[in-house]
């Protein structure tokens, strides 16, 4: 198809300035940047032991903002960078102190690599490793885990998000558009005045926390003041009058924000960006510190500036495009090991939700919503993840425009269902107004934006637990006893007996995982608070409590289920073939699995070709799905977490379905050993043969509203969505899925041949972007296994 993304091929951007900035962002080579590590080390050397944990963290951030190298690139309108230039990636030794081997791997690996210099290696070896080796959260965390947790973790039963990153997957409060940080400082002082040390046994902790928040306000004020000064000094030397004027305006903007509330559209964007830099410098939320409902936040500034003739639509678009470049300049911090496998991407998952409803429940689509669509269409960048929320009230024009962009084939925007998000949030106890301000961040994770700390804790391998169940609690790959001794495959006289054993094993591993995570949450509360993030998360100030300790209004821990398609088809294959039809015995099946079906082609054919499968609107298979889904949900939901909130599930994989497949032998649905398991709530690859409506019907049989988000990939060949008819029916397909309470759907519109070509000749397809899970990525940056998996995902072909 001729409209496949050529991100590098042509300069994109509505003005030459943006084209230049975008090109620089794409051409810069990601590199490790150790200045942050150096400054944090200095701060710890100076203050550790003398200050409380939150104050220590706050002083580290202030030290960073006082001394970090500033970057103000030629032509930039929005300023602030995590590193000293685009694609410079700071490290977080207080979370994960990389070994020299880690650094070598980062530099040498083919995918998701970071340039590491000899100087970096020396600094890491001589300074950072000696200081951080014993202090890093990763070490503390692994020491706190039980042997059974470690065994299950190493066998790939679940992953652990905090192993190399901090909590913080969230969206900040919209208050940053109506308050400056001087206002926040006043609020913090008032809260300190309200602490009652006569009665409150936590008074000291509250005062320490509030002092830390106050220091963090100073940190961002320093950053703003330094940028104002830099812009002014550059303006003094600037020969070009036009640019001189821009630099003066940048300086003026930086004198207004972050100290005061933004007065203009431009300042509102700058305010967001300063906050983004501070949140992602303070800690490593890793993914998904997001602007959230950007169109809702910017619309009043846009209308005011357009009415006052100080802003044209074109200028507004250019400023948005400059923000897009800023997101794209920041690769996710370098990961290694299992964390890299579960999230193998440079993407930092900043997610923008456009459309939806406003806080009063009216249609939220406004002029800025369309600007954002134009911006994403023009820019075609991996970051930010630009998505839309579709409500019943969303106008057809908006949905059609979003479909028009989506069908170009690079995976954005994805579509979220506003009514589903609302019900998910209401069901989890949020107020209606908080729910209307919410949305999906990261990939598809539901949150009450600005009011909720909703922390992803790890992926959970549902098919692997069946493997362990069938082996009597033993992991056949590692040979270790990991599960409960409940008898093995041949001892189950009925499907019910098998299912009951599976249920117990799921409960067993959920226990191990959640016990571990509850300790990890406490470790973070004790050693790694996030006072800056706490300033901009509602209720942390009034409660005098940290974001990582339960300071937010709502506190959720998410466990992400992976492989629902594979586990469903596997259970259905056993139920149907062994117990219902008696086509083969459990013993024969186990032999076939052990042999990876070699010499058991008859069984392979039966399970592959004539067994009910999820994704076909087949009630036999879908009933199995419903039951296994409910089992998992009920095993997790409602458990208390360590922050005064509770556990919930969502169903998304990022790239973890590839890793979870790697650690498994063959499964009863015909999936061969070490091949990926199914992703999101999508059917297993090639399992669905009755077209997209049947897939959506199957998916809608899952009680998605009782989750915190589900992810569905729908792959189309270009022909299906071609022309007015293809476009109109794509929109209608989304509407119908959302009527049935589907949470999310995203499209890959690329033909198989193109992908095969891209695999064979990656250099000719440097630019090819595909939707992976809750995000898009360059096809060439994906592992071979993931590429194969994407190629194999069922293509829906036109009739």
């Amino acid at each position: 198809m001729d409209d496949i993304v050529l991100a590098y091929g042509a300069d994109r951007g509505s003005t030459p300035r943006v084209q230049k900035l975008r090109r620089e962002s794409l051409e810069a080579v990601p590199r490790l940047y150790l200045e942050r590590a150096k400054l944090v080390t200095e701060a710890y050397e100076r203050y550790e032991g003398a200050l409380s944990a939150p104050e220590l963290r706050a002083m580290a951030l202030r030290h960073l903002m006082e001394h970090k190298t500033l970057y103000l690139g030629e032509g930039e309108l929005i300023v602030g960078e995590k590193g000293d230039e685009p694609q410079a990636a700071p490290t977080f030794p207080e979370l994960c102190c990389h070994t020299l081997e880690d650094m070598k791997v980062m530099n040498d690996r083919e995918l998701i690599s970071f340039r590491v210099t000899a100087e970096d290696m020396t600094y890491q070896e001589k300074t950072l490793i000696p200081f951080w080796e014993k202090r890093s959260m990763r070490r503390r965390l692994l020491e706190a885990m039980t042997p059974e947790w470690k065994d299950a973790y190493e066998a790939g039963l679940f992953t652990e998000f905090m192993e190399q990153r901090g909590p913080g997957h969230t969206v900040g409060s919209e208050n940053i558009y109506i308050k400056g940080f001087l206002d926040y400082k006043r609020e913090i002082r008032e809260a300190m005045g309200a602490v009652d040390s006569r009665r409150d046994p936590r008074a000291l902790a509250r005062l320490e926390q509030l002092r830390a928040m106050d220091i963090c306000c100073d940190a961002i004020l320093t950053l703003g003041a330094r940028y104002a000064a830099l812009a002014d000094s550059m303006a003094d030397k600037e020969p070009d009058e036009a640019r001189k004027g821009e630099l003066r305006q940048i300086a003026e903007n930086c004198r207004v924000v972050p100290a005061h509330k933004p007065e203009t559209y431009w300042q509102a964007i700058q305010m967001y960006w300063f906050v983004h830099i501070c949140v992602t410098t303070e800690l490593n939320p890793w993914d998904a510190y997001s602007p959230g409902r950007l169109d809702q936040h910017l619309i009043s500034f846009y209308r005011q500036d357009v009415a006052g003739s100080v802003l044209s639509r074109g200028q507004a678009l250019e400023l948005l495009e400059c923000l897009w470049v800023k997101f794209n300049n920041q690769p996710a911090p370098p990961k290694v090991g299992i964390t890299l496998k579960e999230s193998s991407t440079y993407t930092d998952f900043a997610n923008i939700n456009t459309g939806g409803l406003d806080p009063l429940g009216e249609d939220g689509v406004n002029e800025v919503s369309y600007l954002i669509l134009d911006c994403m269409d023009e820019m075609r960048l991996l970051q930010p993840s630009s998505n839309v929320q579709i409500s019943r009230k969303t106008p057809a024009r908006f949905l059609r425009r979003a479909c028009e962009i989506s069908r170009k084939g690079w995976g954005q925007p994805a579509f979220y269902n506003t009514e589903a998000i609302l019900q998910e949030l209401l069901g989890a106890g949020k107020s209606i107004t908080d729910a209307r301000k919410g949305g999906s961040s990261g990939c598809v994770e539901t949150g009450a934006f600005g009011n909720e700390a909703y922390i992803l804790t790890g992926y959970f391998n549902l098919p692997k637990i069946l493997e362990i169940t069938l082996h009597g609690g033993m992991d056949p790959v590692g040979g270790k006893m990991l599960g409960l001794p409940l008898g093995s495959a041949e001892s189950f006289g009925s499907y019910e007996a098998l299912f009951e054993a599976y249920e117990k094993q799921v409960g067993h591993f959920v226990d191990i995982k959640t016990r571990g995570s509850n300790l990890i949450e406490q470790l973070y509360a004790a050693y790694m608070p996030a006072p800056f993030l706490s300033v901009i998360t509602n209720d942390c100030i009034s409660k005098g409590m940290d974001y990582n300790a339960g300071g937010a209004r709502y506190n959720t821990s998410y466990l992400q289920g992976v492989g629902i398609g594979t586990i469903t088809d596997s259970l259905a294959a056993v139920k149907y073939n062994v117990f219902d039809k008696g086509r083969f015995t459990m013993g024969e099946l186990m032999e076939a699995l052990a042999a990876d079906f070699e010499g058991h082609e008859d069984i392979l054919n039966l399970v592959r070709n004539s067994t009910p499968k999820y994704g076909n609107d087949d009630d036999y298979a879908d009933d199995v799905m419903r039951r296994v889904f409910a089992l998992y949900r009920d095993a997790v939901t409602g458990r208390p977490n360590a922050r005064g909130g509770g556990w919930r599930i969502n169903m998304l994989p990022t790239t973890c379905h590839v890793y979870f497949g790697e650690v498994m032998l063959a499964s009863p649905n015909g999936r061969q050993a070490h091949k990926p398991v199914s992703e999101g709530i999508s059917p297993d690859k090639g399992a669905d043969v009755h077209g997209p409506t049947a897939v959506l019907r199957s998916c809608a049989k899952m009680d998605q509203l009782s989750t915190g988000g589900t992810l569905l990939n729908q792959k189309f060949t270009p022909g299906v969505v071609a022309g007015d008819t293809g476009l109109a029916q794509m929109a209608n397909l989304i509407r119908a899925y959302f009527t049935m309470d589907g949470h999310h759907i995203q499209f890959n519109v690329i033909d198989r041949q193109t992908l095969l070509d891209a695999q064979a000749r990656p250099d000719e397809y440097r630019d090819l972007i595909v939707r992976v899970a809750g995000y898009s990525d360059h096809f060439r940056n994906l592992s071979r296994a993931l590429q194969d998996e994407i190629i194999a995902r069922t293509e829906q072909t036109p009739v």
């Binding site: 054919n605 039966l606 070709n609 409506t693 299906v720 008819t725 109109a728 119908a736 009527t739 036109p798």
Partner: protein
């Protein structure tokens, strides 16, 4: 009419059909057609009886099917029926395309015994009897999609109106009661009495007109066009909502004279909602081999500019003309 009686022969039910009428539709393809259009891209739709489809690329040559055929129609080149049924797959000849299993179609009665024996999915029986209520149960699953898109159910084929009329009427009544809209894709070569019976339940006809010249029509489809044109006129009188569909096939009708004549024949009989020009495509050519038949293969698609000329030709006569579905 008992709605549970399996009297309708269907070879495919296709969901998310977006080019068979308005909106998102489910198309029910009935098996059996009174015409034998030489360019037919659904050859499995022509005969009324179930037929064997053989996907040779999936066959692993295991030979299980040989012994399961009660009519002795299946022969394995690597061994007689005696060795068939063993678990070991027979070796396939190295030369590409070779396959040790052959089926004598003249002896096959479409019983489906070999299909049940086949584990690799290489053997499939196309066409099976359905009861109206079974069809209803399946097609109503996509009601949310019809609702969002203004879609519904399309009855196609083959020739849907060549099915048992009582059963068909029973299905149509059930669809109407379910609130689903119905489009009927017909070749028109059916008794008027049949059309008259289904007329009250059909929201839109997709009515094929292939040639205005009766002799040419007979040459390419096996039947004349008198009944087709007469039915078209009567549908016009009855006020039926109707799109005329004209397959445009080089070697059959893809020239100005034939198109003029079709436009004339249509225009004097009915005002269709639209005229749809459907350029020939060869996507059905692989199906002939799977049915053990030879593909005529002498046809081709008109080029884009010719198609555009034909569109203008129809447009000039006041039709709302579109190219494609």
């Amino acid at each position: 009419m008992n709605p549970a009686e399996k009297t309708l022969s269907v070879f495919n039910i296709q969901r998310y059909a977006i080019h068979d009428g308005d909106g998102i539709r489910t198309t029910v393809f009935f098996k059996g057609c009174p015409l034998r259009c030489a360019w037919c891209h659904n050859p499995e739709s022509q005969r009324f009886e179930p037929e064997l489809v053989f996907h040779k690329e999936r066959c692993d040559g295991c030979g299980r099917c040989v012994s399961r055929c009660p009519d002795g129609a299946i022969v394995s080149a690597t061994g007689s029926a005696a060795s068939a049924g063993s678990m070991a797959p027979a070796a396939l000849p190295e030369d590409a395309g070779g396959n040790p299993i052959t089926t004598d179609r003249t002896r096959c009665v479409g019983c489906g015994g070999c299909v049940k024996a086949c584990l690799s999915g290489a053997r499939e029986l196309t066409g099976k009897p359905w009861a109206p209520e079974e069809i209803l149960a399946l097609v109503k699953r996509d009601a949310p999609f019809y609702e969002s898109s203004g879609g519904g159910v399309t009855l196609s084929g083959g020739e849907p109106l060549a099915q048992d009329t009582d059963a068909l009427e029973s299905l149509l009544i059930a669809l109407r009661e379910e609130g689903l809209t119905v489009t009927v894709d017909t070749c028109g070569h059916v008794p008027w009495a049949t059309l008259a019976r289904v007329l009250p339940y059909v929201d839109l006809f997709l009515y094929d007109v292939k040639h205005a010249d009766g002799e040419a029509h007979r040459l390419f489809t096996g039947e004349g066009n008198a009944q087709i044109l007469e039915n078209l006129a009567r549908l016009g009188e009855a006020g039926a909502r109707l799109d005329v569909r004209v397959p445009v096939v080089r070697g059959v009708n893809a020239e100005a004279g034939a198109m003029e004549a079709i436009a004339e024949a249509v225009g004097t009989r009915i005002r269709p909602r639209r005229v749809r020009l459907l350029p020939y495509h060869s996507t059905g050519s692989g199906k002939y081999d799977k049915l053990g038949r030879d593909y005529p293969g002498v046809f081709s698609a008109p080029d884009a500019s010719a198609l555009e000329d034909f569109r203008e030709l129809f447009d000039a006569r006041g039709f709302h003309t579109v190219i494609g579905g």
